[in-house]
Protein backbone atom coordinates (compact mmCIF):
# COMPACT_ATOMS: atom_id res chain seq x y z
CA UNK A 1 0.00 0.00 0.00
CA UNK A 2 1.25 3.43 -0.85
CA UNK A 3 2.01 5.91 1.87
CA UNK A 4 -0.91 8.00 0.80
CA UNK A 5 -3.40 5.24 1.30
CA UNK A 6 -1.91 4.50 4.69
CA UNK A 7 -2.13 8.05 5.77
CA UNK A 8 -5.69 8.29 4.45
CA UNK A 9 -6.59 5.26 6.51
CA UNK A 10 -5.35 6.79 9.69
CA UNK A 11 -5.98 10.48 9.13
CA UNK A 12 -9.32 10.72 7.44
CA UNK A 13 -9.90 14.16 8.88
CA UNK A 14 -6.76 15.99 7.92
CA UNK A 15 -5.03 17.17 11.02
CA UNK A 16 -2.27 19.69 10.51
CA UNK A 17 -0.64 19.87 13.88
CA UNK A 18 1.75 16.97 14.52
CA UNK A 19 0.82 16.78 18.21
CA UNK A 20 -2.79 16.35 17.12
CA UNK A 21 -1.75 13.64 14.68
CA UNK A 22 -0.16 11.62 17.47
CA UNK A 23 -3.22 12.15 19.64
CA UNK A 24 -5.69 11.09 16.95
CA UNK A 25 -3.54 8.12 16.03
CA UNK A 26 -3.38 6.89 19.62
CA UNK A 27 -7.16 7.25 19.94
CA UNK A 28 -7.60 5.16 16.81
CA UNK A 29 -5.24 2.51 18.13
CA UNK A 30 -7.16 2.30 21.38
CA UNK A 31 -10.47 2.09 19.53
CA UNK A 32 -9.22 -0.65 17.22
CA UNK A 33 -7.65 -2.50 20.15
CA UNK A 34 -11.08 -2.72 21.80
CA UNK A 35 -12.62 -4.12 18.65
CA UNK A 36 -9.85 -6.66 18.15
CA UNK A 37 -10.00 -7.73 21.77
CA UNK A 38 -13.70 -8.40 21.34
CA UNK A 39 -13.19 -10.35 18.13
CA UNK A 40 -10.20 -12.17 19.56
CA UNK A 41 -12.11 -13.32 22.61
CA UNK A 42 -14.95 -14.56 20.46
CA UNK A 43 -12.60 -16.48 18.18
CA UNK A 44 -10.67 -17.97 21.08
CA UNK A 45 -13.87 -19.07 22.82
CA UNK A 46 -15.03 -20.77 19.65
CA UNK A 47 -11.61 -22.42 19.37
CA UNK A 48 -11.78 -23.70 22.96
CA UNK A 49 -15.35 -24.87 22.50
CA UNK A 50 -14.79 -26.54 19.12
CA UNK A 51 -14.78 -30.05 20.67
CA UNK A 52 -18.22 -29.54 22.21
CA UNK A 53 -19.56 -27.79 19.14
CA UNK A 54 -18.44 -30.65 16.87
CA UNK A 55 -19.67 -33.37 19.17
CA UNK A 56 -22.99 -31.85 20.22
CA UNK A 57 -23.92 -29.08 17.80
CA UNK A 58 -27.03 -27.11 18.49
CA UNK A 59 -28.36 -29.85 20.81
CA UNK A 60 -25.92 -28.54 23.34
CA UNK A 61 -28.27 -25.67 24.13
CA UNK A 62 -31.47 -27.71 24.28
CA UNK A 63 -30.28 -30.82 26.11
CA UNK A 64 -31.61 -30.84 29.63
CA UNK A 65 -28.87 -32.89 31.24
CA UNK A 66 -25.36 -32.10 32.43
CA UNK A 67 -23.50 -35.09 33.74
CA UNK A 68 -19.70 -34.89 33.39
CA UNK A 69 -18.93 -38.46 34.61
CA UNK A 70 -21.29 -39.83 31.92
CA UNK A 71 -19.92 -37.35 29.35
CA UNK A 72 -23.39 -35.86 28.86
CA UNK A 73 -23.27 -32.11 28.32
CA UNK A 74 -26.41 -30.04 27.80
CA UNK A 75 -26.52 -26.39 28.76
CA UNK A 76 -30.30 -25.96 28.98
CA UNK A 77 -30.34 -25.93 32.80
CA UNK A 78 -27.81 -23.09 32.88
CA UNK A 79 -29.56 -21.11 30.19
CA UNK A 80 -32.78 -21.36 32.19
CA UNK A 81 -30.94 -20.60 35.45
CA UNK A 82 -29.29 -17.49 34.04
CA UNK A 83 -32.43 -16.13 32.40
CA UNK A 84 -34.68 -16.93 35.36
CA UNK A 85 -32.41 -15.46 38.03
CA UNK A 86 -31.79 -12.34 35.92
CA UNK A 87 -35.47 -11.78 35.28
CA UNK A 88 -36.32 -12.22 38.96
CA UNK A 89 -33.64 -9.61 39.66
CA UNK A 90 -35.11 -7.21 37.10
CA UNK A 91 -38.65 -7.88 38.31
CA UNK A 92 -37.60 -6.64 41.76
CA UNK A 93 -34.93 -4.09 40.86
CA UNK A 94 -36.68 -2.21 38.04
CA UNK A 95 -39.58 -0.80 40.08
CA UNK A 96 -37.39 -0.27 43.14
CA UNK A 97 -34.67 1.53 41.18
CA UNK A 98 -36.95 3.70 39.07
CA UNK A 99 -39.00 4.49 42.17
CA UNK A 100 -35.84 5.44 44.06
CA UNK A 101 -34.62 7.60 41.20
CA UNK A 102 -37.98 9.38 41.00
CA UNK A 103 -37.99 9.90 44.75
CA UNK A 104 -34.45 11.27 44.79
CA UNK A 105 -34.91 13.50 41.76
CA UNK A 106 -38.50 14.69 42.12
CA UNK A 107 -39.68 14.36 45.69
CA UNK A 108 -36.90 14.38 48.27
CA UNK A 109 -35.35 17.65 49.43
CA UNK A 110 -31.89 18.14 47.92
CA UNK A 111 -30.00 17.29 51.11
CA UNK A 112 -31.87 14.05 51.68
CA UNK A 113 -31.39 13.18 48.01
CA UNK A 114 -27.65 13.68 48.28
CA UNK A 115 -27.29 11.42 51.32
CA UNK A 116 -29.63 8.67 50.11
CA UNK A 117 -28.18 8.82 46.61
CA UNK A 118 -24.71 8.37 48.04
CA UNK A 119 -25.81 5.37 50.10
CA UNK A 120 -27.41 3.72 47.08
CA UNK A 121 -24.27 4.26 45.05
CA UNK A 122 -22.23 2.80 47.88
CA UNK A 123 -24.05 -0.49 47.27
CA UNK A 124 -22.17 -0.70 43.99
CA UNK A 125 -18.85 -0.57 45.82
CA UNK A 126 -19.50 -3.72 47.85
CA UNK A 127 -17.52 -6.65 46.41
CA UNK A 128 -19.49 -9.46 44.87
CA UNK A 129 -18.20 -12.03 47.32
CA UNK A 130 -19.52 -9.99 50.22
CA UNK A 131 -22.98 -10.04 48.65
CA UNK A 132 -22.56 -13.79 48.37
CA UNK A 133 -21.65 -14.13 52.04
CA UNK A 134 -24.56 -11.94 53.05
CA UNK A 135 -26.82 -14.05 50.86
CA UNK A 136 -25.70 -17.27 52.51
CA UNK A 137 -25.54 -16.06 56.10
CA UNK A 138 -28.40 -13.55 56.29
CA UNK A 139 -30.74 -13.76 53.33
CA UNK A 140 -31.00 -17.53 52.97
CA UNK A 141 -32.22 -18.18 56.54
CA UNK A 142 -34.76 -15.36 56.28
CA UNK A 143 -35.97 -16.68 52.94
CA UNK A 144 -36.22 -20.20 54.34
CA UNK A 145 -38.00 -19.34 57.58
CA UNK A 146 -40.22 -16.44 56.55
CA UNK A 147 -40.38 -15.39 52.92
CA UNK A 148 -40.72 -18.76 51.22
CA UNK A 149 -43.41 -20.14 53.56
CA UNK A 150 -45.32 -16.89 53.08
CA UNK A 151 -45.01 -17.04 49.29
CA UNK A 152 -46.01 -20.71 49.27
CA UNK A 153 -49.16 -19.99 51.23
CA UNK A 154 -50.26 -17.17 48.92
CA UNK A 155 -48.97 -18.25 45.52
CA UNK A 156 -48.13 -21.93 46.01
CA UNK A 157 -49.90 -24.97 44.58
CA UNK A 158 -53.67 -24.92 44.92
CA UNK A 159 -53.91 -21.16 45.40
CA UNK A 160 -56.09 -18.91 43.27
CA UNK A 161 -52.93 -17.19 42.08
CA UNK A 162 -51.46 -20.40 40.67
CA UNK A 163 -54.78 -21.26 39.04
CA UNK A 164 -55.10 -17.83 37.44
CA UNK A 165 -51.47 -17.74 36.34
CA UNK A 166 -51.91 -21.11 34.64
CA UNK A 167 -54.82 -19.75 32.61
CA UNK A 168 -52.96 -16.55 31.75
CA UNK A 169 -49.90 -18.47 30.56
CA UNK A 170 -52.05 -20.80 28.47
CA UNK A 171 -53.68 -17.76 26.86
CA UNK A 172 -50.32 -16.16 26.24
CA UNK A 173 -48.85 -19.18 24.50
CA UNK A 174 -51.96 -20.25 22.62
CA UNK A 175 -51.26 -17.99 19.59
CA UNK A 176 -47.79 -19.51 19.25
CA UNK A 177 -49.30 -22.95 19.48
CA UNK A 178 -51.72 -22.08 16.67
CA UNK A 179 -48.93 -20.82 14.46
CA UNK A 180 -46.76 -23.86 15.17
CA UNK A 181 -49.75 -26.07 14.49
CA UNK A 182 -50.45 -24.47 11.11
CA UNK A 183 -46.79 -24.89 10.20
CA UNK A 184 -46.97 -28.50 11.34
CA UNK A 185 -44.19 -28.02 13.85
CA UNK A 186 -45.77 -29.44 16.96
CA UNK A 187 -47.83 -32.28 18.31
CA UNK A 188 -48.93 -30.25 21.32
CA UNK A 189 -52.67 -29.63 21.58
CA UNK A 190 -54.51 -26.99 23.57
CA UNK A 191 -55.20 -29.61 26.22
CA UNK A 192 -51.57 -30.54 26.71
CA UNK A 193 -50.48 -26.90 26.56
CA UNK A 194 -52.95 -26.01 29.28
CA UNK A 195 -51.77 -28.98 31.35
CA UNK A 196 -48.14 -27.92 31.01
CA UNK A 197 -48.83 -24.31 31.88
CA UNK A 198 -50.93 -25.33 34.87
CA UNK A 199 -48.12 -27.55 36.10
CA UNK A 200 -45.66 -24.70 35.62
CA UNK A 201 -47.86 -22.25 37.52
CA UNK A 202 -48.65 -24.71 40.29
CA UNK A 203 -44.99 -25.57 40.70
CA UNK A 204 -43.61 -22.04 40.76
CA UNK A 205 -43.77 -21.64 44.54
CA UNK A 206 -43.80 -25.32 45.41
CA UNK A 207 -41.39 -27.48 47.34
CA UNK A 208 -39.53 -27.29 50.62
CA UNK A 209 -38.18 -23.87 51.56
CA UNK A 210 -34.44 -24.39 51.33
CA UNK A 211 -33.22 -20.81 51.50
CA UNK A 212 -30.48 -21.25 48.94
CA UNK A 213 -31.85 -21.41 45.42
CA UNK A 214 -33.07 -19.57 42.36
CA UNK A 215 -35.24 -17.06 44.19
CA UNK A 216 -32.53 -16.08 46.68
CA UNK A 217 -30.05 -15.68 43.84
CA UNK A 218 -32.53 -13.40 42.11
CA UNK A 219 -32.97 -11.32 45.26
CA UNK A 220 -29.21 -10.93 45.77
CA UNK A 221 -28.82 -9.99 42.12
CA UNK A 222 -31.62 -7.44 42.39
CA UNK A 223 -29.80 -5.68 45.22
CA UNK A 224 -26.55 -5.77 43.28
CA UNK A 225 -27.99 -4.14 40.17
CA UNK A 226 -30.13 -1.57 41.97
CA UNK A 227 -27.35 1.05 42.21
CA UNK A 228 -26.62 0.78 38.48
CA UNK A 229 -30.24 1.04 37.44
CA UNK A 230 -30.94 3.83 39.93
CA UNK A 231 -27.94 5.89 38.84
CA UNK A 232 -28.82 5.46 35.16
CA UNK A 233 -32.46 6.34 35.79
CA UNK A 234 -31.42 9.49 37.63
CA UNK A 235 -29.31 10.51 34.66
CA UNK A 236 -32.22 9.89 32.34
CA UNK A 237 -34.57 11.99 34.48
CA UNK A 238 -31.99 14.76 34.71
CA UNK A 239 -32.18 15.19 30.92
CA UNK A 240 -35.78 16.39 31.13
CA UNK A 241 -35.60 20.18 31.49
CA UNK A 242 -37.17 21.81 34.54
CA UNK A 243 -39.32 23.93 32.25
CA UNK A 244 -41.25 20.79 31.29
CA UNK A 245 -41.83 19.94 34.94
CA UNK A 246 -43.05 23.47 35.58
CA UNK A 247 -45.31 23.25 32.55
CA UNK A 248 -47.05 20.29 34.14
CA UNK A 249 -47.25 21.86 37.59
CA UNK A 250 -48.53 25.07 36.01
CA UNK A 251 -51.38 23.11 34.44
CA UNK A 252 -52.48 21.94 37.85
CA UNK A 253 -50.74 18.59 37.95
CA UNK A 254 -50.00 17.04 41.30
CA UNK A 255 -46.46 15.82 41.79
CA UNK A 256 -47.37 12.31 40.75
CA UNK A 257 -49.30 13.55 37.71
CA UNK A 258 -46.32 15.69 36.77
CA UNK A 259 -44.11 12.61 36.91
CA UNK A 260 -46.57 10.73 34.75
CA UNK A 261 -47.19 13.27 31.98
CA UNK A 262 -43.93 15.21 31.93
CA UNK A 263 -41.34 12.61 32.87
CA UNK A 264 -42.26 8.98 32.35
CA UNK A 265 -43.61 9.47 28.86
CA UNK A 266 -40.56 11.31 27.64
CA UNK A 267 -37.97 9.19 29.42
CA UNK A 268 -39.34 5.70 28.94
CA UNK A 269 -36.74 4.78 26.32
CA UNK A 270 -33.95 5.84 28.65
CA UNK A 271 -35.51 4.06 31.60
CA UNK A 272 -35.82 0.85 29.61
CA UNK A 273 -32.15 1.31 28.71
CA UNK A 274 -31.27 1.65 32.38
CA UNK A 275 -33.12 -1.55 33.21
CA UNK A 276 -31.46 -3.45 30.36
CA UNK A 277 -28.07 -2.30 31.56
CA UNK A 278 -28.95 -3.85 34.91
CA UNK A 279 -30.13 -7.00 33.16
CA UNK A 280 -26.76 -7.23 31.43
CA UNK A 281 -24.99 -7.02 34.75
CA UNK A 282 -27.25 -9.66 36.28
CA UNK A 283 -26.66 -12.09 33.42
CA UNK A 284 -22.91 -12.01 33.84
CA UNK A 285 -22.68 -11.83 37.63
CA UNK A 286 -20.82 -14.86 38.95
CA UNK A 287 -19.43 -14.93 42.46
CA UNK A 288 -22.48 -13.99 44.52
CA UNK A 289 -24.79 -16.14 42.41
CA UNK A 290 -22.50 -19.14 42.67
CA UNK A 291 -22.60 -18.87 46.45
CA UNK A 292 -26.37 -18.45 46.76
CA UNK A 293 -28.06 -20.35 43.95
CA UNK A 294 -27.48 -23.85 45.31
CA UNK A 295 -25.57 -25.26 42.31
CA UNK A 296 -27.72 -28.05 40.96
CA UNK A 297 -27.42 -28.88 37.27
CA UNK A 298 -31.11 -29.25 36.54
CA UNK A 299 -33.84 -27.01 35.26
CA UNK A 300 -35.62 -25.94 38.45
CA UNK A 301 -39.37 -26.47 38.53
CA UNK A 302 -39.85 -24.12 41.44
CA UNK A 303 -38.32 -20.78 42.33
CA UNK A 304 -37.37 -22.33 45.67
CA UNK A 305 -35.20 -25.03 44.10
CA UNK A 306 -31.45 -24.83 43.71
CA UNK A 307 -30.27 -24.12 40.18
CA UNK A 308 -27.17 -23.20 38.23
CA UNK A 309 -26.34 -20.34 35.90
CA UNK A 310 -23.96 -20.29 32.96
CA UNK A 311 -21.54 -18.19 34.95
CA UNK A 312 -21.79 -20.27 38.10
CA UNK A 313 -21.25 -23.64 36.42
CA UNK A 314 -18.05 -22.35 34.85
CA UNK A 315 -16.85 -21.04 38.19
CA UNK A 316 -17.74 -24.31 39.89
CA UNK A 317 -16.33 -26.82 37.45
CA UNK A 318 -13.56 -25.14 35.51
CA UNK A 319 -10.81 -26.21 37.94
CA UNK A 320 -11.24 -29.94 37.57
CA UNK A 321 -12.42 -30.13 33.98
CA UNK A 322 -10.59 -31.50 30.96
CA UNK A 323 -11.33 -32.92 27.51
CA UNK A 324 -14.95 -32.65 26.37
CA UNK A 325 -15.97 -31.34 29.78
CA UNK A 326 -13.59 -28.40 29.48
CA UNK A 327 -14.62 -27.66 25.93
CA UNK A 328 -18.30 -27.85 26.96
CA UNK A 329 -17.61 -25.29 29.68
CA UNK A 330 -16.03 -23.08 27.03
CA UNK A 331 -19.18 -23.56 24.97
CA UNK A 332 -21.19 -22.43 28.00
CA UNK A 333 -18.95 -19.37 28.16
CA UNK A 334 -19.53 -18.74 24.48
CA UNK A 335 -23.28 -19.04 25.00
CA UNK A 336 -23.10 -16.58 27.90
CA UNK A 337 -21.20 -14.19 25.69
CA UNK A 338 -23.80 -14.52 22.96
CA UNK A 339 -26.75 -14.19 25.34
CA UNK A 340 -25.28 -10.96 26.74
CA UNK A 341 -24.74 -9.71 23.21
CA UNK A 342 -28.29 -10.62 22.22
CA UNK A 343 -29.77 -8.90 25.25
CA UNK A 344 -27.82 -5.77 24.42
CA UNK A 345 -28.82 -5.82 20.77
CA UNK A 346 -32.45 -6.47 21.64
CA UNK A 347 -32.28 -3.58 24.09
CA UNK A 348 -30.94 -1.25 21.46
CA UNK A 349 -33.64 -2.26 19.03
CA UNK A 350 -36.29 -1.89 21.69
CA UNK A 351 -35.07 1.58 22.70
CA UNK A 352 -35.02 2.71 19.09
CA UNK A 353 -38.53 1.39 18.65
CA UNK A 354 -39.76 3.34 21.68
CA UNK A 355 -37.94 6.47 20.59
CA UNK A 356 -39.64 6.37 17.23
CA UNK A 357 -42.91 6.91 19.02
CA UNK A 358 -41.43 9.63 21.20
CA UNK A 359 -39.58 11.90 18.84
CA UNK A 360 -40.29 13.56 15.57
Amino acid sequence: MSRRVWSRLFFRNRVENSGDQVFVLSLKIVAWATVSLFAGMLVYLVYLARGAIEALGFNFLTTNDWNPPMEIFGAAPFLVGTLASSFIAIFIAAPVSIGTALFLKEVAPKRVARVVGFLVELLAAIPSVVYGLWGVLVLAPVMRDHVQPFLASWFGPGTYFAQALGHVLTGLFYPFLLIADVLGLTEVTLGTLSEKMMALAQGLFDGPPLGLGLLSAGVVLSIMITPTVTAMSREVLAIVPDSVREGALGLGATRWEMIRIALLRSSRAGLVGAVILGLGRAIGETMAVTMVIGNRNEIPKSLFEPAQTMASVIANEYNEADGLHLSSLAAVGLSLFLVSLLVNLAARGFIRWIERGTRA
Partner: protein, 259 residues
Protein backbone atom coordinates in the same frame (compact mmCIF):
# COMPACT_ATOMS: atom_id res chain seq x y z
CA UNK B 1 -63.34 50.47 40.08
CA UNK B 2 -65.87 48.11 41.64
CA UNK B 3 -64.74 44.91 43.20
CA UNK B 4 -66.41 42.69 40.61
CA UNK B 5 -64.31 44.14 37.81
CA UNK B 6 -61.11 43.18 39.53
CA UNK B 7 -59.70 39.91 38.31
CA UNK B 8 -56.54 39.73 40.37
CA UNK B 9 -55.19 41.77 43.25
CA UNK B 10 -51.97 41.39 45.20
CA UNK B 11 -51.51 42.82 48.67
CA UNK B 12 -48.04 43.27 50.09
CA UNK B 13 -46.70 40.37 48.03
CA UNK B 14 -43.10 39.51 48.84
CA UNK B 15 -40.95 36.64 47.63
CA UNK B 16 -37.56 35.25 48.58
CA UNK B 17 -34.97 32.82 47.29
CA UNK B 18 -33.43 31.78 50.59
CA UNK B 19 -32.39 35.08 52.17
CA UNK B 20 -32.52 36.93 48.88
CA UNK B 21 -35.56 39.22 48.95
CA UNK B 22 -36.45 39.56 45.25
CA UNK B 23 -40.08 40.75 45.27
CA UNK B 24 -40.73 43.50 47.76
CA UNK B 25 -44.23 44.03 49.09
CA UNK B 26 -46.05 44.57 45.85
CA UNK B 27 -49.68 45.65 45.73
CA UNK B 28 -51.31 45.81 42.34
CA UNK B 29 -54.72 45.18 40.86
CA UNK B 30 -55.62 43.87 37.46
CA UNK B 31 -59.08 44.34 36.00
CA UNK B 32 -61.02 41.75 34.10
CA UNK B 33 -60.00 41.68 30.43
CA UNK B 34 -56.88 43.73 30.96
CA UNK B 35 -53.73 42.94 29.10
CA UNK B 36 -51.37 43.94 31.85
CA UNK B 37 -47.70 44.33 30.95
CA UNK B 38 -44.92 43.98 33.51
CA UNK B 39 -41.73 45.69 32.42
CA UNK B 40 -38.38 46.29 34.05
CA UNK B 41 -34.72 45.47 33.70
CA UNK B 42 -33.50 41.91 33.81
CA UNK B 43 -33.30 40.46 37.31
CA UNK B 44 -35.78 42.90 38.83
CA UNK B 45 -38.14 40.13 39.90
CA UNK B 46 -40.78 40.11 37.16
CA UNK B 47 -40.64 36.35 36.66
CA UNK B 48 -40.60 35.71 40.38
CA UNK B 49 -43.60 37.98 40.87
CA UNK B 50 -45.66 36.36 38.14
CA UNK B 51 -44.75 32.89 39.42
CA UNK B 52 -46.20 33.84 42.79
CA UNK B 53 -49.58 34.39 41.14
CA UNK B 54 -50.11 30.67 40.47
CA UNK B 55 -48.09 29.50 43.47
CA UNK B 56 -45.31 28.11 41.28
CA UNK B 57 -42.57 30.07 43.06
CA UNK B 58 -42.86 27.93 46.18
CA UNK B 59 -41.93 24.79 44.19
CA UNK B 60 -38.30 25.91 44.15
CA UNK B 61 -36.11 24.68 46.99
CA UNK B 62 -35.73 27.41 49.60
CA UNK B 63 -38.25 29.75 47.99
CA UNK B 64 -40.77 31.59 50.16
CA UNK B 65 -43.75 33.91 49.69
CA UNK B 66 -45.51 36.36 51.97
CA UNK B 67 -48.63 38.44 51.41
CA UNK B 68 -51.95 37.86 49.73
CA UNK B 69 -53.14 37.31 46.18
CA UNK B 70 -56.87 37.55 45.54
CA UNK B 71 -58.34 36.13 42.40
CA UNK B 72 -62.01 36.44 41.58
CA UNK B 73 -63.83 33.34 40.52
CA UNK B 74 -67.40 32.22 40.19
CA UNK B 75 -67.83 32.22 43.95
CA UNK B 76 -66.44 35.66 44.64
CA UNK B 77 -62.91 36.58 45.56
CA UNK B 78 -60.46 34.05 46.93
CA UNK B 79 -57.04 34.47 48.54
CA UNK B 80 -54.76 31.89 46.96
CA UNK B 81 -52.37 32.10 49.90
CA UNK B 82 -55.11 31.56 52.49
CA UNK B 83 -54.23 28.70 54.82
CA UNK B 84 -55.59 25.45 53.40
CA UNK B 85 -55.81 26.79 49.88
CA UNK B 86 -54.79 24.13 47.36
CA UNK B 87 -52.09 25.16 44.87
CA UNK B 88 -53.18 22.50 42.41
CA UNK B 89 -56.71 23.91 42.28
CA UNK B 90 -55.32 27.45 41.91
CA UNK B 91 -53.14 26.47 38.97
CA UNK B 92 -56.17 25.13 37.13
CA UNK B 93 -57.71 28.61 37.19
CA UNK B 94 -54.53 30.53 36.46
CA UNK B 95 -52.80 29.35 33.30
CA UNK B 96 -49.16 29.97 32.51
CA UNK B 97 -47.06 30.28 29.38
CA UNK B 98 -43.32 30.19 29.87
CA UNK B 99 -40.36 31.91 28.28
CA UNK B 100 -39.14 28.76 26.59
CA UNK B 101 -41.80 26.70 24.79
CA UNK B 102 -42.22 23.56 26.90
CA UNK B 103 -44.56 21.07 25.24
CA UNK B 104 -44.46 17.70 26.96
CA UNK B 105 -41.94 15.54 25.11
CA UNK B 106 -43.35 12.21 24.07
CA UNK B 107 -46.89 13.56 23.88
CA UNK B 108 -48.66 14.19 20.60
CA UNK B 109 -50.01 17.63 19.69
CA UNK B 110 -53.47 16.39 20.61
CA UNK B 111 -52.36 14.98 23.96
CA UNK B 112 -50.45 18.14 24.76
CA UNK B 113 -53.53 20.30 24.29
CA UNK B 114 -55.77 18.11 26.40
CA UNK B 115 -53.21 17.34 29.11
CA UNK B 116 -54.85 19.77 31.53
CA UNK B 117 -58.35 18.50 30.78
CA UNK B 118 -57.26 14.94 31.33
CA UNK B 119 -55.79 15.99 34.67
CA UNK B 120 -59.19 17.42 35.51
CA UNK B 121 -60.73 14.04 34.73
CA UNK B 122 -62.31 14.69 31.33
CA UNK B 123 -62.30 11.46 29.33
CA UNK B 124 -65.01 11.75 26.66
CA UNK B 125 -63.31 11.61 23.29
CA UNK B 126 -65.86 13.90 21.66
CA UNK B 127 -65.34 16.58 24.33
CA UNK B 128 -61.57 16.33 24.01
CA UNK B 129 -61.70 16.59 20.23
CA UNK B 130 -63.88 19.66 20.40
CA UNK B 131 -61.60 21.35 22.94
CA UNK B 132 -58.52 20.58 20.84
CA UNK B 133 -60.09 22.25 17.85
CA UNK B 134 -61.32 25.36 19.67
CA UNK B 135 -58.12 25.79 21.68
CA UNK B 136 -55.88 25.41 18.65
CA UNK B 137 -58.07 27.85 16.71
CA UNK B 138 -57.81 30.25 19.62
CA UNK B 139 -54.05 29.91 19.57
CA UNK B 140 -54.01 30.44 15.78
CA UNK B 141 -52.39 27.07 15.21
CA UNK B 142 -55.30 24.95 13.98
CA UNK B 143 -54.82 25.29 10.24
CA UNK B 144 -51.14 24.41 10.53
CA UNK B 145 -51.56 21.27 12.59
CA UNK B 146 -55.05 19.94 12.00
CA UNK B 147 -53.76 17.14 9.77
CA UNK B 148 -50.99 16.03 12.11
CA UNK B 149 -52.50 16.01 15.56
CA UNK B 150 -50.89 12.66 16.28
CA UNK B 151 -47.38 13.99 15.63
CA UNK B 152 -45.25 14.78 18.70
CA UNK B 153 -45.64 18.33 19.99
CA UNK B 154 -41.87 18.67 19.97
CA UNK B 155 -41.79 18.19 16.20
CA UNK B 156 -43.18 21.70 15.65
CA UNK B 157 -41.14 24.87 15.14
CA UNK B 158 -40.37 27.07 18.14
CA UNK B 159 -43.13 29.55 17.37
CA UNK B 160 -45.63 26.76 16.78
CA UNK B 161 -44.56 25.09 20.01
CA UNK B 162 -45.22 28.29 21.90
CA UNK B 163 -48.68 28.57 20.36
CA UNK B 164 -49.24 24.93 21.27
CA UNK B 165 -48.37 25.82 24.85
CA UNK B 166 -50.85 28.69 24.71
CA UNK B 167 -53.51 26.31 23.39
CA UNK B 168 -52.66 23.91 26.20
CA UNK B 169 -53.11 26.68 28.75
CA UNK B 170 -56.37 27.89 27.18
CA UNK B 171 -57.86 24.40 26.95
CA UNK B 172 -58.75 24.38 30.65
CA UNK B 173 -60.47 27.79 30.28
CA UNK B 174 -58.46 29.70 32.86
CA UNK B 175 -59.70 33.06 34.11
CA UNK B 176 -56.22 34.46 34.15
CA UNK B 177 -53.31 33.78 31.82
CA UNK B 178 -49.77 34.51 32.97
CA UNK B 179 -47.18 34.91 30.23
CA UNK B 180 -43.49 35.21 31.08
CA UNK B 181 -41.68 36.72 28.10
CA UNK B 182 -43.54 34.37 25.78
CA UNK B 183 -41.89 35.71 22.63
CA UNK B 184 -38.33 36.28 23.75
CA UNK B 185 -37.18 32.97 22.27
CA UNK B 186 -39.04 33.47 18.97
CA UNK B 187 -38.46 35.03 15.57
CA UNK B 188 -40.26 38.28 14.61
CA UNK B 189 -43.02 36.59 12.61
CA UNK B 190 -43.89 34.17 15.38
CA UNK B 191 -43.73 37.07 17.81
CA UNK B 192 -46.21 39.07 15.75
CA UNK B 193 -48.64 36.15 15.63
CA UNK B 194 -48.51 35.72 19.37
CA UNK B 195 -49.02 39.43 19.93
CA UNK B 196 -52.14 39.36 17.73
CA UNK B 197 -53.31 36.34 19.60
CA UNK B 198 -52.92 38.04 22.97
CA UNK B 199 -54.93 41.02 21.81
CA UNK B 200 -57.74 38.74 20.67
CA UNK B 201 -57.67 36.79 23.92
CA UNK B 202 -58.44 39.74 26.12
CA UNK B 203 -62.17 39.41 25.58
CA UNK B 204 -62.10 36.04 27.31
CA UNK B 205 -59.24 36.03 29.74
CA UNK B 206 -57.23 38.45 31.82
CA UNK B 207 -53.63 38.47 30.63
CA UNK B 208 -50.54 39.38 32.63
CA UNK B 209 -47.53 39.48 30.37
CA UNK B 210 -43.90 40.00 31.31
CA UNK B 211 -41.86 41.57 28.56
CA UNK B 212 -38.55 43.30 28.26
CA UNK B 213 -39.56 44.60 24.87
CA UNK B 214 -41.16 48.00 25.42
CA UNK B 215 -42.58 48.24 21.92
CA UNK B 216 -44.37 45.01 22.65
CA UNK B 217 -45.79 46.38 25.88
CA UNK B 218 -46.92 49.51 24.05
CA UNK B 219 -48.51 47.50 21.24
CA UNK B 220 -50.52 44.96 23.14
CA UNK B 221 -51.19 46.10 26.71
CA UNK B 222 -53.64 48.57 28.15
CA UNK B 223 -52.02 48.67 31.61
CA UNK B 224 -48.34 48.63 32.46
CA UNK B 225 -46.36 48.24 35.67
CA UNK B 226 -42.69 49.10 35.94
CA UNK B 227 -40.56 47.01 38.31
CA UNK B 228 -37.12 47.89 39.57
CA UNK B 229 -35.05 45.83 41.98
CA UNK B 230 -38.04 43.97 43.30
CA UNK B 231 -40.19 47.03 43.82
CA UNK B 232 -43.16 48.35 41.92
CA UNK B 233 -42.10 51.82 40.83
CA UNK B 234 -45.14 52.88 38.89
CA UNK B 235 -48.24 51.47 37.28
CA UNK B 236 -51.09 52.78 35.19
CA UNK B 237 -52.54 52.92 31.68
CA UNK B 238 -49.90 51.97 29.17
CA UNK B 239 -50.30 55.16 27.14
CA UNK B 240 -49.69 57.30 30.19
CA UNK B 241 -46.71 55.27 31.42
CA UNK B 242 -45.05 55.64 28.06
CA UNK B 243 -45.90 59.30 27.48
CA UNK B 244 -46.07 60.92 30.91
CA UNK B 245 -44.28 58.74 33.47
CA UNK B 246 -44.50 60.19 36.97
CA UNK B 247 -41.29 58.67 38.27
CA UNK B 248 -37.94 59.69 36.81
CA UNK B 249 -36.70 56.08 37.03
CA UNK B 250 -39.58 54.96 34.79
CA UNK B 251 -38.74 57.71 32.38
CA UNK B 252 -35.08 56.73 32.36
CA UNK B 253 -35.97 53.10 31.70
CA UNK B 254 -38.42 53.69 28.87
CA UNK B 255 -36.12 56.14 27.20
CA UNK B 256 -33.45 53.48 27.31
CA UNK B 257 -31.07 55.07 29.77
CA UNK B 258 -30.63 51.91 31.81
CA UNK B 259 -31.70 48.27 31.90
Amino acid sequence: MTDSEISLRTEGLSAWFGDHHVVKSISLSVSRNDVYALIGPSGCGKSTFIRCLNRLHEEIDGARVQGDVWISGDSGSENIYAPGSDPVAIRRQVGMVFQKPNPFPGLSIFDNVVAGLRLAGVKRRSVLEEVVETSLKHAALWTEVKDKLKKPGTSLSGGQQQRLCIARALAVRPKILLMDEPTSALDPISTARIEELVMRLRSEVTVLIVTHNMQQAARISNQTAFFLMGELVESGPTSRIFTKPKDTRTEQYITGRFG
